[in-house]
């Protein structure tokens, strides 16, 4: 790899995705190094924010949890993010055949890392866990991630843009299902006593 840094990947995504497409470049290796940061930082921000400010769901009073609950919630968040990240990489690799892509797994790994990176930046908002504020940041992050996905995927996989559009949409479907699963799992954990105390 020549000049690729993650910041370059975000500022000049087209060039970065072209570099990712080169199987013999070491872009994937460099990007792999930041994956632990991508997966660990958001849960740490959640842990910090829920202790410093409490969860603010919109009502006047913030919800404060004990440290054990906060650690468990942050750990569950880490597991969910890891599952989401790696499953997206493998599913993208699996889908690639259908859409005419013939790239090794490491290219998909690098692609999803770049697409996911705006989420890391957005997750800083977890430090102030006001639900509406986080939603607004999430929306901006999502637009950024989706732009990177739709523009970057056909370049990185070297497939026609139309096929890239189809594959990106299939991945969006997968990610939406993943997001709603995260909601369902969270709620399920609350009802069995992990997380905020609720009257069930």
């Amino acid at each position: 790899m020549t000049q690729l840094t993650l910041i370059n990947a975000l500022l000049k995504p087209h060039l970065a995705f072209k570099e990712i497409a080169q199987v013999d470049s070491n872009a994937a290796k460099i990007l792999q190094k930041i994956v632990p940061l991508l997966l660990l930082a958001p849960p740490i921000f959640v842990w910090l924010g829920s202790g410093l400010f409490g969860w603010r769901m919109g009502a006047d009073e913030a919800l404060f949890l004990d440290n054990t609950s906060r650690v468990i919630i942050s750990f569950c968040y880490f597991i969910a993010l890891s599952l989401g990240f790696f499953s997206t990489v493998f599913i993208a690799h699996w889908m690639g055949v259908t859409y005419g892509a013939d790239k090794p797994l490491k290219v998909y790994f690098a692609l999803i890392t770049v697409v996911y990176f705006p989420f890391l930046i957005g997750s800083i908002a977890h430090i102030y866990p006001n639900a509406f504020f986080n939603l607004l940041v999430l929306l901006l992050t999502l637009i950024w991630c989706m732009t990177l996905l739709y523009k970057g995927l056909p370049v990185a996989l070297e497939i026609p843009p139309e096929r890239g559009m189809l594959m990106s949409s299939s991945l969006v479907a997968w990610l939406l299902v993943g997001a709603v699963s995260l909601l369902g799992i969270s709620v399920g954990l609350w009802t069995i006593g992990i997380g905020p105390a609720i009257a069930v």
Binding site: L63, L139, L142, E162, A173, V180, G188, T191, P196, A197
Partner: protein, 494 residues
């Protein structure tokens, strides 16, 4: 053959139904946007009963489901059943009657809702005179549809007709059974059922109206129009037939999941939960079939904006049909029920699936029907991004609002008392409702663009006359007799 020179498909009815569908989507969506605004500024009902939430909410839902949705389903069912049967519609005058009588029911029914006539059953609010009228028109719809199939010249019945047929039969059954009532005055009746039975019958109806109308009917649309748009046969025809029967069998049990933690027996709730989870398999079978079919047609995306809508509709179909069973799990439902998460779920289906697949179909169908290119492809592309942005923003804002509400409803303090009052929680939701209003406006703006685009495409054009093409010998019903064979098996020329 004379059939091919004289017979013409009755596409005038199709285009008229599309026009009505476009009219209703504008009206009903405008009402929806107004409702969204009322959540932020309740005073904009100006003290008028007919503008209050309780009266215009059913106007919004009935207008979308029965005005926009059913008109689109009638249009596409009439269009596709002729093509898949190779004959014009059976009893075309009855089809015209269905078209206009249905619109009259929606118009007068909508006004009756504003006037305060209501049975108070969700999605079945219209009072008994309208229920009888709906039943009559619906049976006529069935006569036209099944009559056309009975007259068909091709032996196989294509899978889209199975879904449309399922829609017609099941909705008739649900509508008639659920609306059995004793009339008291012209505008008031009381349900024949009482208490828990009434609730079970209502949600047997309510959930299967979602199932067989908003899911099954629109799957019929997908199974006919997706292969046409993509120029590819359906990826797995066998899978489509298996998914139809699995879908039909499992959907009908799932209704009581709307009544979790209520007075109905717990085993009924558990059964509904399990069958809801089973439902995921046939639902996703159709999604996979759609995605795999369109994956081979990527080159068409260069020129066809309609296909983008269909692609995205499949993504939201996958989301909604996963989310529904998940929310039917009792430990999730205990938090999600009575929150805006449900509203987000409904709209991921209604905007993302029903509206998008219908819009994609209209963009494909209208130019074909009038024999003219779409007025503006750029406008259609812009519409796609508006529709996607509006749907995403709507769903995400309602997810966040819903989960927050669920948590706040159930929060208790150290004395076991509820931590927050209803008023406090609702006041805290106004920011989310603001986002929802913006989302609705974005989606509505896209819909207005489409209506204008299609209006300009249709303007001044006559419907193209299409004659049924001949059917290949091996698929023909009553094929011409085979030439006789002599004792050696050699065919003897006639």
């Amino acid at each position: 053959m004379s059939q091919n020179t004289k017979e013409i498909y009755h596409d005038h009815i199709v285009i008229r139904l599309i026009q009505f569908s476009l009219f209703w989507v504008i009206v009903a969506m405008a009402v929806g946007v107004y409702l969204a605004a009322e959540f932020i500024w309740p005073e904009i009902d100006f003290g008028q009963f007919w503008l209050s939430f309780g009266r215009i909410r059913p106007l919004h839902t009935n207008g979308i489901i029965f005005g926009f949705g059913v008109s689109a389903l009638m249009a596409t069912a009439f269009y596709s059943v002729q093509r898949t049967s190779h004959v014009p519609l059976f009893m075309p005058r009855l089809a015209w009657f269905c078209c206009y009588a249905w619109q009259l029911i929606i118009l007068l029914g909508g006004l009756s809702l504003l006037a305060g006539w209501t049975s108070s059953k969700e999605y079945a609010e219209l009072e008994w005179p309208f229920d009888i009228a709906i039943a009559i028109v619906w049976v006529c719809f069935g006569v036209v549809f099944f009559g056309t199939i009975a007259n068909r010249r091709i032996r196989p019945i294509y899978v889209s007709n199975w879904f449309y047929g399922g829609l017609i039969i099941v909705i008739a059954m649900l509508h008639i059974v659920n609306n059995l009532a004793i009339p008291v005055t012209i505008g008031k009746s009381y349900s024949l059922y009482a208490g828990a039975q009434d609730a079970i019958v209502q949600w047997w109806y309510g959930h299967n109206a979602v199932g067989f109308l908003l899911t099954g009917g629109f799957l019929g649309m997908m199974y006919y129009f997706l292969p046409k748009q993509s120029g590819q046969p359906i990826w797995s025809y066998r899978l489509s037939v298996v998914s139809f029967w699995a879908f039909t069998y499992s959907y009908i049990w799932a209704g009581p999941h709307h009544l979790h933690f209520s007075a109905i027996p717990e085993w009924v709730q558990s059964l509904a939960m399990v069958m809801s989870l089973v439902l995921l398999a046939p639902s996703w079978a159709s999604m996979i079939n759609g995605i795999m079919t369109v994956s081979k047609a990527w080159e068409r995306l260069r020129t066809d904006p309609a296909l983008k809508f269909v692609v995205m509709s499949l993504a939201f179909y996958g989301l909604a049909t996963f989310e529904g069973p998940m929310m039917a799990i009792r430990s999730v439902n205990v938090v999600s029920h009575f929150t805006d998460w449900t509203i987000g779920h409904v709209h991921s289906g209604a905007l993302g699936w029903n509206a998008m697949i219908t819009y994609g179909t209209f963009y494909y169908l209208v130019p074909k029907l009038v024999g003219r290119e779409l007025y503006s492809t750029k406008m259609a592309n812009l519409h796609f991004w508006l529709a996607l942005a509006g749907t995403m923003l709507y769903v995400l804002s309602m997810w966040a609002a819903g989960v927050s509400q669920g948590l706040l409803w159930l929060s208790i303090d150290e004395y076991g008392q509820l931590s927050f009052s209803f008023r406090e929680i609702m006041a805290a939701m106004s920011s989310y409702y603001g986002l929802r209003l913006i989302a609705g406006l974005i989606f509505f703006a896209g819909t207005i663009l489409m209506t204008w685009n299609l209006f300009m495409t249709m303007r001044g054009q006559k419907t193209v006359e299409v004659t049924p093409p001949p059917v290949a010998e091996k698929y023909r019903i009553n094929p011409s007799p085979k030439p006789a064979a002599d004792h050696t098996g050699t065919e003897v020329p006639a």
